[in-house]
Symmetry: C3
Subunit: 125 residues, 3 copies
Amino acid sequence: MNLSSPDSGNGHRVVFQFVSPDVASQKALISNLKNLLAAWPEVEIEVVVHGPGISLVTTQQTQHARQLQTFADSHHVRFVVCENSLRSKQLSLADMLPFVETVPVAIVELILKQEQGWAYIKGGL
Amino acid sequence: MNLSSPDSGNGHRVVFQFVSPDVASQKALISNLKNLLAAWPEVEIEVVVHGPGISLVTTQQTQHARQLQTFADSHHVRFVVCENSLRSKQLSLADMLPFVETVPVAIVELILKQEQGWAYIKGGL
Amino acid sequence: MNLSSPDSGNGHRVVFQFVSPDVASQKALISNLKNLLAAWPEVEIEVVVHGPGISLVTTQQTQHARQLQTFADSHHVRFVVCENSLRSKQLSLADMLPFVETVPVAIVELILKQEQGWAYIKGGL
């Protein structure tokens, strides 16, 4: 793996944690994903959204539905929300953008992914 | 390790870094710990508290003494504060909640834990 | 590796991500680096600066030029900025402090370092 060699990103895996409510952090995350996919179109990305971060993928609240759909359509980015976070906000999967999936517990998911060798990035500012 | 199989969390280890002064970040950390322990009662957790994060475990300042004590009583969560941070704030271990321990340097602790295979989570928003 | 044994930090490697625009986060990062180098003078550190974090190493904006130069002079800390971030801010390497280097994509760099066994710390509050 060398930054100067041709590299599709195939085999690289990264999990982002996104928990921030703020708009600037949402923009930072989207910019990170765009730049990462431009460099490595075949990288495998999972974005674990929980707590106040959920507004990013809530249909009634998001300002980035179209861009997030483009990421999901690439088949290289999965967005998963925490079921605990949904419950505590009295939301359900039906309130999320259509490509969103769930995991039972965000932190468990972040631990499992790291144990499986995925790199970890805390998203946002 | 499979989210859908019965799993006590035994053998999973995670270190949280907590450095934020803000109340919303404290609530997010506590919520993360609660949900994690509910899913995995035998997970091993260490919370490394440093910098402005120290108010969380300072007896005169914390708003979460009782909840943190419950975590500590579970014997699955350790809270450690950075001795450098204590010195720079002219505080000592006696000013911390009774179950708090110290480490010489927070960042060293976070590096060592990752080298030993612990997952890393940056706590807060 | 034991915190209580004499240890120069030789062989330990850590990558910091720094993306925050705020002054308190800059101070936290600098404090972290100071304390880490005091404990482990031979640790290998890379600070990946991107997004709004770039003001930290922009010559016209930084309030920490002297301290950062001292870190760079130690030959144990490298500061790298993201070329995508430079472009999006219409800046070039010439606008950065003299010891700053670039990487094509910040997130790619953070993934590669973790894959190579470096510990990861999200800098700032």
